[in-house]
């Protein structure tokens, strides 16, 4: 520290900048590597799961097209195995798939869930629902939860806070399925305030008119509320716990002794420190949006990615599964990258170690 002060300002700045660039480049390299590694592992894991689209097809044929001749079924299966490239050796499938994903504009091949719609189109179709409803509500839940949690941590000895903690603990651990179902039954059916399900009124077609948009908004409220209630409670509790542990630290006592205003302490010291893990938590939850709360999509009949993944899993639709997982891996890792790059801004101490 003493040495640093003696150095000229410029030199420090240059070396600092170089370090920063070095850090960013290194972090980006790690990011790319993790992306590839996670995708590769996911690819092979999927292929090791028992069953492939065609075994499911055979099963479905045996029921849906009751008297279909076994030999005829074999021909059908052989065709689709070829369409989905399932007869190639695994490594060839992998190389082909990776190549297509990177060099042919995320061409994941045809989907089986909605054959012959290409997987890419299917994902593009479903993505707005997941992003529009779930990502938005996770973000809102995070903002509300973090704010509430900070206040609750700050005022953590008030009686009212105890009650708030009890309520949020209750909400956090109640299975989201029950929260959603409760809202559907009570708000949707008993009170008739809002439609109990569906992305928008079933007879409408997506157009930019008020009838459609208002229908869309009305249908979005309950699913968003379900997610926000459960996740928001979790964020609140997490933030509160962090605040309390930060508040217990010496430097805050020290700051107070120095006569720093309580609000300044909250803003500049406590909040800032407690936010770090909270931001990390956000990145994780956002990434888990896909599989964590797909049940909300199912209950509210929203055509999102979560439902699509479950459907694809049920049909062993590898193309769609991989497409979604690739997307989800990309989203989580990118968010993590952003968080990692942003954290030093929040906490100078981490910057120092980089």
């Amino acid at each position: 520290m003493v040495a640093q002060e003696t150095e000229t300002m410029e030199a420090a700045e240059v070396s600092g900048r170089r370090e920063a660039v070095h850090y960013i480049v290194r972090r980006f390299g790690i990011y790319l590597f993790t992306l590839w590694a996670a995708f590769t592992v996911a690819f092979f894991v999927f292929r090791m799961v028992p069953g492939d689209p065609m075994t499911i097809l055979l099963g479905q044929l045996s029921r849906a097209e009751g008297q279909l001749d076994p030999e005829e079924a074999e021909v059908i299966i052989a065709h689709y195995r070829e369409v989905f490239g399932l007869d190639e050796p695994l490594y060839k499938q992998y190389v082909f798939y990776l190549g297509n994903s990177i060099f042919r504009g995320l061409d994941f091949g045809p989907s089986f869930v909605a054959y012959p719609t290409p997987t890419r189109d299917l994902i593009v179709q479903r993505l707005p629902w997941t992003v529009g409803i779930f990502t938005t509500s996770v973000l809102l839940a995070w903002i509300a939860g973090t704010g509430l949690g900070a206040v609750m941590g700050w005022l953590h000895q008030r009686r009212l806070t105890g009650l708030a903690v009890a309520v949020s603990t209750l909400l956090q651990i109640t299975p989201v399925y029950l929260v959603a179902l409760g809202l559907i039954i009570y708000v949707g059916f008993a009170l008739r305030w809002l439609p109990p399900g569906g992305p928008y009124a079933a007879h409408l077609q997506p157009t930019w008119n008020w009838e459609f948009i208002s229908s869309l908004l009305r249908h979005a409220i309950l699913p968003m509320l379900s997610v926000m209630l459960t996740l928001g409670a979790g964020f609140t509790l997490g933030m509160r716990a962090l605040m309390i542990s930060v508040l217990g630290e010496d430097y805050l006592t020290f700051a107070k002794a120095k006569g720093v205003l309580p609000l300044t302490i909250l803003k500049d010291y406590a909040l800032r420190n407690a936010l770090i893990p909270q931001v990390t938590g956000l990145a994780i939850v956002l990434g888990a949006t896909l599989n964590g709360i797909f049940i909300v999509e199912v209950l509210f009949q929203l055509p999102g990615l979560g439902t699509l993944f479950v459907q694809a899993m049920g049909l062993r639709d590898f193309n769609t599964m991989q497409g979604i997982v690739l997307f989800s891996i990309f989203a989580v890792l990118t968010l993590t990258l952003i968080v990692d790059l942003a954290l030093p801004l929040l906490d100078p101490r981490i910057r120092k170690t980089v």
């Binding site: 059916f189 992305p199 928008y200 208002s214």
Partner: protein, 582 residues
């Protein structure tokens, strides 16, 4: 549920909240609010109740399907494997079959009759004239010939009802007959044109399909010969709306509902409320929810029908001691079938044959003496012990040993689709087996895994259903042919127990070339039944009854006892019975 007063209050509050929530609500809701707040009476229904925008409720038939994972709502191509889902109404409302079969009777539809020559190498099919497509174009023999050629040309494209045309020649005779020349004697060729529980070969419109790819063409206007035409299809809301066309070619069989809406119903917990509100007319719902629905809405009636596929248990004969027929019979005696049948969602029945039978079994295909002699449906643990002892499975310290001296332990695979009978059999079997010193380990599989493990032969005891037709139960034995006994790990498209029996193979081969209506073939069927009963490569478990919910508020005419399956081709016939409620 709630007192009327509080309901009204809540409604007002709800409207107020809605207004607060969105500064300007949709213009439609404004007058309703004023009406509600100003009059003390609950909301009076308008003159005509409208659903799905502007469809009069009493002219609309709403089918709430339980669509499978395939999520195809805007592609109307029955050649695509993924479209076999029957959930959009396409197959039921626009795709008519040459013939329909229910309860053993065959009804002419797009075709009138068929005739074999003496040795079964030539078939003459007479088609119905005056038929039209739902876009108004006539359906002629040209369309039939086009489709036959189209299917044959695309047989390698993975389309159903195509490979049966291999090596077959056909020619038109006049404007209403097609003569098929078959390479060898085959008295089942006509079955390809009969819609039973599901599809059959059917003509497609030449002017629509010509030049189109068989598996990727979406047939966007859902052209077919049925009485409805497509209004709209939405993949987001999973709803398809159909409108009746009044120029349909057979006024006698024109369905009553002017509109039909086919949609994917929500999860059972939510759907039950939709049902109570009368939002649907027909649909599958887990039957345990019916009691509550019926007490909440007196219009809802359960319709029970027989599932066309009885359930059974397959033994993997590659695994010791399941290779021993006596051991398999002993396991059969340990299976309390009646208890399982009673636990099914809709109480079901025990059957000694694996084809659908409405109470009485067709004796022409069935050997009652063999069923009795080999006790194919009996629950008798004492007899089982006796058989096991006689066959040399010694009981040592309470554990039964196989012939190499190892304790017997078997995995019993089941899947859980929410029907107790599908899961409980394994636990009941395990309980009984434990008493005689055999370990049976019930294992739940998720459905796709189940479909992989089964055909690959990676199981000891496997639950499965058996689909065959009562007028020709060949499929009950055909899957046991040695040609399907693949090595373990390779997919078998037959009954996957790896059973081999040259004697049965010979009988199956004869059955396949014989005419199921002839006395000689029926004698072969009875011989095959006797072999099956003695060997028991698989067990008959129970025949299942299924229930669907039917809302009689707007439509009636469907009754218990009518022999149909609403999710299959039978729906076309059901539509004729449906009449408006008064």
């Amino acid at each position: 549920m709630l007192a009327t007063k509080s309901k009204r209050l809540a409604f007002v509050a709800a409207m107020a909240a809605l207004f607060a929530l969105m500064a300007c609500a949709s213009p439609v809701s404004e007058p309703i609010v004023i009406e509600v707040t100003s009059t003390p009476e609950p909301m009076m229904p308008a003159e005509v109740e409208l659903v799905f925008g502007d469809l009069p409720r009493d002219e609309t038939f709403i089918v709430a399907s339980q669509a499978p994972n395939n999520d195809v709502w805007d592609s109307f191509n029955h050649y695509q494997a993924a479209t076999y889902n029957n959930a959009s109404g396409y197959n039921q409302l626009t795709q008519e079959m040459p013939f329909l079969e229910w309860d053993g009777v065959i009804y002419p539809w797009l075709a009138q009759s068929w005739e074999y020559d003496g040795d079964g190498t030539e078939l003459t099919l007479t088609i119905t004239e005056g038929v039209n497509w739902n876009d108004g174009m006539p359906l002629t023999i040209e369309d039939w010939l086009f489709t036959l050629q189209y299917n044959a040309d695309n047989a390698d494209k993975g389309i159903a009802w195509a490979s049966f045309l291999t090596d077959i020649e056909w020619r038109a005779e006049g404007s209403n007959q097609i003569v098929f020349t078959l390479p060898e004697s085959n008295f089942r060729f006509h079955q390809n044109f009969i819609g039973h529980i599901a599809g059959a070969w059917r003509p497609v419109a030449k002017h629509v399909w010509e030049g189109q790819d068989a598996t990727t063409f979406k047939n966007p206007d859902a052209i077919g010969s049925g009485p409805y035409r497509l209004v709209s299809a939405n993949s987001d809301t999973r709803t398809v709306i159909w409108e009746r066309r009044d120029e349909y070619w057979d006024p006698e069989r024109l369905p009553a509902p002017k509109y039909q809406v086919w949609l994917k119903r929500p999860e059972a917990d939510v759907a039950v409320f939709e049902w109570e509100e009368g939002a649907y007319d027909l649909g599958r719902i887990p039957f345990q929810l019916m009691t509550r629905m019926m007490s909440a809405n007196a219009h809802i009636k359960p319709l029970v029908h027989q599932d066309p596929c009885p359930r059974g248990l397959i033994f993997n004969v590659m695994n010791e001691p399941l290779d021993d027929p006596l051991f398999r019979r002993a396991l059969g005696l340990l299976m309390n079938r009646q208890a399982v049948a009673n636990l099914a969602n809709v109480p079901s029945y025990v059957t000694p044959v694996l084809w659908p039978n409405t109470g009485e079994i067709d004796e022409r295909f069935y050997d009652a003496a063999a069923a009795e002699e080999f006790e194919v449906t009996t629950f008798d643990p004492e007899k089982a012990v006796q058989l096991l002892d006689e066959a040399g499975y010694a009981l040592v310290d309470g554990v039964r040993l196989d012939k190499s001296g190892n304790p017997i332990s078997l995995d019993a695979f089941y899947i859980d689709i929410g029907d107790p009978a599908w899961t409980v059999w394994s636990w009941l079997l395990a309980e009984q087996a434990e008493k005689v010193g055999i370990e049976v380990n019930p294992r739940l599989l998720d459905i796709p895994t189940f479909f992989a493990q089964g055909p690959n032969g990676e199981f000891d005891i496997l639950f499965r259903w058996f689909c065959t037709r009562p007028s020709d139960p060949t499929a009950m034995y055909d899957g046991l042919h040695s040609k399907y006994a693949m090595p373990i790990g390779e997919r078998s498209s037959g009954i996957p127990g790896r059973y081999r029996n040259p004697e049965l193979d010979a009988i199956i081969d004869q059955i396949r070339t014989g005419d199921p209506a002839s006395a000689a073939t029926q004698e072969l069927f009875r011989q095959a039944y006797r072999i099956w009963a003695e060997e028991q490569p698989y067990l008959s478990l129970f025949g299942e009854n299924e229930g669907v919910a039917f809302n009689t508020q707007y439509w009636t005419g469907l009754e218990v006892g009518q022999p149909w399956v609403h999710w299959g081709a039978h729906f076309r016939q059901m539509m004729v019975w449906i009449v408006p409620a008064q």
